[in-house]
């Protein structure tokens, strides 16, 4: 059975418009680039089966689906028992850059530290920060999505920002 061309076009538009943002959200929530990509793919497969309702804010709708999918991954048995990060050599870390090797290395190190600091946050703090800062959700929307109070969201957000800024200032002072 062939799909309705209109629905197909809408899916394509959704993917073209929001794919990168949703992939980044998944990647940051999970702290894992490839797993984030996988989950992002799952999100768009789900969207193909159940498209966002007419009139809904597509980006927010997709972000909700993505956050829930990331939740499912982290709650899964596989994540708890078998997922483990390993340190591996990555050539892209050492790749050439027009900024010069030292500046490039410093920037890359700082980026690494910030990514690592994001990974060190609690899951709640990370989600709150990403939804509030990157997705631009309001405190109330984040609170509703995560089932927390607005005050709690503000506290989580402040702690997340403080932790990330600490890392940033540490690396600048070195």
């Amino acid at each position: 059975m062939r799909k309705d061309p209109k629905a197909h076009a809408r899916e394509a538009t959704l993917a073209a418009t929001h794919r990168d943002g949703i992939a980044r959200l998944c990647r940051l929530v999970l702290g894992d680039a490839e797993l984030g990509e996988d989950v992002c793919q799952d999100v768009f497969i789900k969207v193909a089966a159940t498209p966002p309702p007419d009139g809904a804010d597509e980006r927010r709708w997709l972000a909700r689906v993505a956050i829930n999918a990331c939740h499912d991954v982290r709650r899964g048995r596989w994540w708890k028992t078998q997922y483990r990060r390993t340190d591996e050599f990555d050539e892209s870390f050492h790749e050439n850059d027009s900024r010069g090797p030292e500046r490039c290395l410093l920037d890359a190190e700082q980026r690494e530290r910030i990514h690592a600091a994001l990974g060190e946050l609690t899951e709640r703090q990370r989600q709150v920060f990403l939804l509030r800062h990157f997705e631009g959700w309001s405190t109330e929307e984040v609170a509703e999505q995560l089932g927390l109070s607005a005050g709690s969201i503000k506290t989580h957000l402040f702690r997340a920002i403080t932790a990330l800024r600490d890392v940033l200032n540490e690396s600048e002072n070195e």
Binding site: R24, G31, F93, A116
Partner: protein, 222 residues
């Protein structure tokens, strides 16, 4: 409300308030204070700069090992962890049982005798007997291989005997001149068990030291 505004205007904003202001959730008073206070304005600018840097850093994919995953990153961990402590406990219990069995078979009769003598104020015994009693059972077991009589061997050692089968190729054999008049150590059948005993005697805290050994050898001291 007026009082609150004036107090906010007097005091610098907390970091939490600055964050709220940055996200457009601060009160009017806080916003006004931020605009009028040089220090708060400076802190606010710094906060914005930091958040821009953080945002830029997180917008780019993590370049390396910390957030990159490839197929090898999905490494199976040592699977169910429950069996590990159980296996460790079982190994400890088995090891303890083996040691205990050997200890009981080899040392218990001699140890009991020594203890009995001590209780009756009997003759003082050489420290190595006590050493044998308290020595680790694994060493005892190693020293007490078949056809090995520890007490005979120890008595000979007390008398200053040297072992035959000395490892040093320059001093091989049990020549009288090498032993300097000392009594030759009984030769143990089946191998060089002296090494076992010697090793036992040298164990710290068991009373059979270099000093004992050479004192016996040269007939010096008790």
């Amino acid at each position: 409300m007026k009082a609150k505004m004036s107090s906010v205007n007097r005091q610098c904003l907390s970091d939490e308030s600055l964050v709220a202001v940055m996200y457009g959730e601060g009160s009017t008073a806080e916003d006004e204070h931020r605009l009028s206070c040089i220090e708060c304005a400076r802190r606010f600018r710094r906060l914005e700069q930091d958040m821009t840097l953080i945002g830029n850093a997180l917008s780019e994919p993590a370049v390396s090992r910390l957030a990159r995953r490839d197929s090898s990153r999905r490494v199976r961990t040592a699977a169910p962890r429950l069996w590990q402590p159980l296996a460790a406990a079982a190994a400890v219990v088995i090891g303890f049982a083996m040691v205990w069995t050997q200890f009981a078979d080899v040392v218990q009769p001699q140890g009991t005798k020594v203890a009995g003598e001590a209780a009756t104020g009997g003759p003082s015994r050489p420290p190595r007997e006590i050493a044998l009693k308290g020595a680790p059972a694994t060493r005892i077991a190693r020293a007490a291989l078949p056809e090995f009589d520890a007490s005979v061997y120890l008595d000979a050692a007390l008398g200053g005997a040297l072992p035959c089968g000395w490892d040093d190729p320059l001093e091989s054999g049990c020549g009288a001149e090498r032993l300097r008049g000392a009594v030759s150590m009984p030769v143990l059948s089946g191998g060089d068990h002296y090494d076992d005993l010697y090793g036992l005697g040298f164990a710290e805290g068991y009373g059979f030291s270099d000093a004992d050994y050479f004192a016996g050898l040269f007939g010096v001291g008790g």
